[in-house]
Symmetry: C2
Subunit: 637 residues, 2 copies
């Protein structure tokens, strides 16, 4: 039986860990990103995204008045104002999406906590966005500013349908949060144009960068209008059909391989291995799962399950990072998870969590929920600095600053977080996930409530009121106060890292969840034994042979130069080394090998001395300037 | 006191190991490459190199007759005849050099063994080359065919001075071997044009791809004309001066970093770290050492020594490969020696051997000679298939065919040798080194003969006749029959892999050589204890922590899928594992880990079972179709 996540407005996060992060997003990240999209951060790459809406608004007004407007090449747009006509579009082709993601994050934040100033700012941005919309509903600033005659001519490489998707997500979020429908109406007008343009009797194209699929389903859910669902289904059905739409339209003949990049090599329903650009992948899979939620398409669901299993069992870093290669920001082949070359984009892990939530709504699955936890507590959080003003796009598992500076193969590996990126998909994506965390904790149906993530808070759901007092990631203790509206089964996910737990009520376990019958007002305490532990990566992953990682609860730990000096590769643990936890830090009696003076010499056992090794949570790395970092550490047997 | 290598015509290789390889080069490689440069190998990339000389010859004739000739863009030349005017130049800008390297290899081969048919072919090629030379001595087919008015306008990116260098090397070799001076005269005419064009009072440029420096010294040595030496010195002195010549001429402003690629970031005399394109680097360092041999320039020699030490101690693979990154085919930073991403171009190891020989002529140095041995017996030989018709350009230390096919970061790693390359620098380079091996075995001066490489053969040198019966790489036994012309010291290099040796005459050791006084006709037997051994790579190299390589004598061994099945990373040795040698193969009782079914699990000691592991010499890998290969193997303590 399918279930659904709670509405955000009916949740209130009071978690000992997550409340602070949400506050950081509300008080620092969202205001900082507002400055960023308005190009007011000194020393950061310019965004141009608000500026483009202002320009597009003027063009739209001129067009309404029948005035002539200039034309610039859309396919040869120029990033910055040093090299282009200053009236032309600037930034990346998908720059509109940064504004939309900021709006979406602001909407979720307003949903959690009213904020007059923030709402005023958001309304101001929405006015700019809506002013840019053309009469026919079209709304993408690149083509509005540069060339109206070329819209929808290059779906493969340009991002109109991608920007539409983010517009729709923001619009639904803002409507749900504030009740204001101005942006929603704009999104619906654009959606109607898209539904008219694409389809069996129209253009048989589909997005180059997926997200419109899941966004159309959100519009369907907000309005009940079937055409939005139908168009989402159409996009997913058409994708990967041969002859390739892009080949026909763009007049090119390509080999199959080229479309792995955007998951258009075969139809999604036949896809079993996660390939290509990782963010595009998980956005597509999210859209596929959305279709399954509404249509019960068994073939598509089978593909969703195969893709989730492939990612979780063969293509996910221990940190929940996905996308092992910088080339195409893509999934690599099975079990190829290099630590020092990882891409593991913050957005990809966020997108995986989107996918996971949808899969959990179809049916509970402890493995998928555990993988989402892995991503959430590690790679997602790593994306942001402690003060919320610096960001990682790429989340490697091993960093040597010298390599980042001198080895062009590692140019993407930044040893410290950056202020802002021209291509700034990750920071606002992070803000919108954290701000809407209440939607990810649980799902419910008529007879059960499934707790997937132990995010403390107050949840008003159909089955009743659930108050979660959670100290999950610190002590492993989670307390539930439940006031049921009707009898239901409370299903508590047993984390994969926990061997021992106790529950203060009778329960039975099934498929990784502990099931408890709730018939009356109840208080239930679950205690997960939480202790530092050594984790082994499969020996089919070549990079980690002879090594292990340290974890505690959901957190992966790492060693940094700031605590342990240079040449982290010389450090090792014995499987018997005691791991001691205190105040968020793990220490161990380990070993340090003496550095070798010769490049090659006759093999002899290494000379080591005992040393204290300090581990910090992975998500906190890189907050103390440039230094070495390693997740996996050598194990001496 | 400086010493010199023997003249090739006074050497005759009779080595149990090397004679066979020389025969292979003579009977298979040189004839095969003749077909290749004439574009007669089916299924191989076209070379166009002979064809270009034919075209250029017609242009040169037309110009002599005062006829007008067509102009094609030189800076926008097109590789193949599908995309260009068929009368224009084809192939890479440096394609002439393949013809010259073939001629040089043929010359050395003729020096070792007369061959009427080969000499006739070479004479035919030389006629084509000389017919292409312009009246003023200029000889580079790209500019002769495409545009005479643009010669020497882009020294940085085009390769006129590089092709000249190979012409000069071939010309000197052919003259020394056959006494025929037609090609030498052509080279001298081109050299004279270069000497007139470049210099203090002329163009202050220098080659973008080095080799002209060492080639000009060869012309100086062949003719005694000082201007050739002076121009070589000029090129080395000008290189790296600021403002950069290339910036001035090409009207570009670059950052220093850009000139690391061709070692033009600072003047060579100040260079201490080997950086940039590895082949260019070792060719430059060879030229620098040549200048030192003739001028005793202490500053330049100090740079040569620092560069050699940097390569040997921090940038050389155990296989003698150099150039750890495909980006720019370049040296990476110190101790960055990844196995599976290695570039380790065959040509770079060959060029290192050129550099090493020159350094050994300045003064004997057991470490440099050992590094040359490492390169010669492993990466150089690996460049060629057992039948001499397939070649590796790149010589990795770990190969997973799936990665080569699916991971674009490893596109350069070929799991099997290729027929021929459009950019075919390596195969003819290999042919010219192997054919002139007699020049690399020893150096001599008035009072000493230094044996650097134990290549069996008959050497007629100034100090007398030295006959070496060598079974060096198989049994470690080498016998010397010496008929001295005067008393001298015989200095026998003690290989770095040998702890125990015996010599049938009184000796003392100094700086890695065993010194024996030779005053009369003598027979001396040296026996190096040779046995399979485990070799450790410095723990400053991150890729090899916890692993070791198997060697025997000068040969590095590796494991291949053909012998050991898939997932070579699951195999391990104990330091106590007995290594057994028989018929070129080493076997060991090792261990195989059971493959893990879960991607992540609580750490537990691996389940292993005993297994026989088979090692073959590294240079023989990839001769049995696509399969996994690994040099380093995990060590279980």
């Amino acid at each position: 039986m399918k279930s659904r996540h709670p509405e955000l407005k009916n949740t209130k996060i009071t978690d000992s860990f997550w409340s602070g992060i949400q506050e950081l997003v509300r008080n620092s990240v969202i205001p900082y990103q507002y400055e960023a999209i308005n190009d007011r951060i000194e020393g950061a790459e310019k965004s141009y995204s608000v500026e483009n809406f202002v320009k597009a608004g003027k063009i739209a007004a001129a067009l309404r008045e029948g005035k002539s407007v200039p034309v610039y090449p859309a396919d040869k747009w120029v990033y910055d104002d040093n090299n282009a006509d200053k009236n032309a579009f600037h930034g990346w082709v998908f720059q509109d999406s940064d504004v939309y993601k900021w709006l979406e994050a602001a909407a979720y934040s307003l949903s959690c906590k009213p904020d007059y100033e923030l709402e005023k700012r958001a309304d101001g941005i929405i006015d700019l966005v809506c002013a840019a919309q053309l009469e026919n509903g079209y709304l993408d600033t690149l083509y509005i500013i540069n060339n109206r005659d070329e819209i929808f001519t290059n779906l493969k490489d340009f991002h109109e349908l991608y920007c539409f998707g983010h517009l729709a997500e923001a619009a639904v979020a803002y409507y749900n949060s504030t009740g204001k429908d101005k942006l929603l109406n704009a999104a619906l007008r654009f959606a109607d144009l898209i539904c008219k343009t694409f389809g069996e009797s129209g253009v048989k194209g589909y997005p180059g960068h997926e997200i419109a699929e899941l966004a159309l389903v959100k519009l369907y859910e907000a309005t009940g209008e079937k055409r939005y669902l139908k168009t989402a289904e159409f996009f997913i059905e058409e994708r990967g059909k041969k002859p390739y739409y892009y080949d026909i339209v763009l007049g090119r003949k390509t080999v199959d391989d080229n479309y792995h990049y955007n998951q258009a090599h075969i139809q999604p329903k036949y896809q079993k291995e996660a390939v290509g650009h990782a963010v595009r992948g998980v956005y597509l899979y999210s859209g596929m799962a959305d279709i399954v939620r509404h249509t019960d398409d068994a073939e598509l669901y089978s593909a969703c399950k195969a893709l989730a299993e492939n990612i979780i069992n063969k293509k996910m870093y221990i940190t929940g990072g996905i996308g092992a290669t910088v080339d195409g920001e893509a999934f690599s082949f099975n079990y190829d998870l290099p630590n020092d070359l990882a891409y593991a984009e913050t957005c990809a892990s966020i997108g995986f969590i989107f996918f996971a939530r949808r899969m959990l709504e179809i049916e509970p699955n402890a493995q998928i929920a555990a993988a989402a936890e892995r991503a959430l507590y590690n790679t997602v959080l790593s994306g942001m600095s402690e003060d919320g003003t610096r960001f990682f796009y790429v989340n490697p598992l091993e960093v040597l600053p010298d390599a980042s500076h001198k080895d062009s193969r590692k140019r993407h590996i930044k040893p410290v977080r950056q202020k802002w990126f021209g291509c700034a998909c990750c920071p606002p994506n992070l803000a919108r996930l954290i701000s809407s965390l209440g939607e990810y904790a649980l799902t419910e149906n008529e007879s059960a409530v499934y707790i997937h993530q132990y995010v403390g808070g107050e949840y008003k759901i159909e089955n009743g009121a659930v108050i979660i007092n959670s100290d999950y990631s610190e002590s492993g203790r989670v307390n539930f106060m439940i006031t049921p509206e009707r009898a239901f089964t409370l299903a508590l996910r047993i984390p994969d890292w926990c061997d021992n737990f106790s529950i203060s009520a009778p329960y039975k376990t099934k498929d990784g969840y502990a099931l408890i019958d709730i018939t009356e007002k109840s208080e239930i305490l679950i205690e997960f034994e939480i202790k530092p532990r050594l984790v082994k990566c499969s020996n089919l992953v070549r990079a980690n042979i002879g090594r292990a990682a340290v974890m505690r609860g959901p957190f992966v730990y790492c060693i940094e130069g700031a605590d342990n000096g240079e040449n982290l590769q010389l450090l090792s643990l014995s499987p018997k080394s005691a791991l001691k936890y205190e105040n968020g830090i793990i220490t161990a009696e380990g070993f340090r090998e003496e550095p070798d003076s010769e490049l090659y010499c006759e093999y002899k056992p290494a000379k080591t001395e005992k040393t204290k090794i300090t581990f910090i949570p992975y998500y906190k790395w890189g907050n103390r300037g440039e230094n070495e970092m390693q997740v996996y550490i050598e194990i001496n047997n």
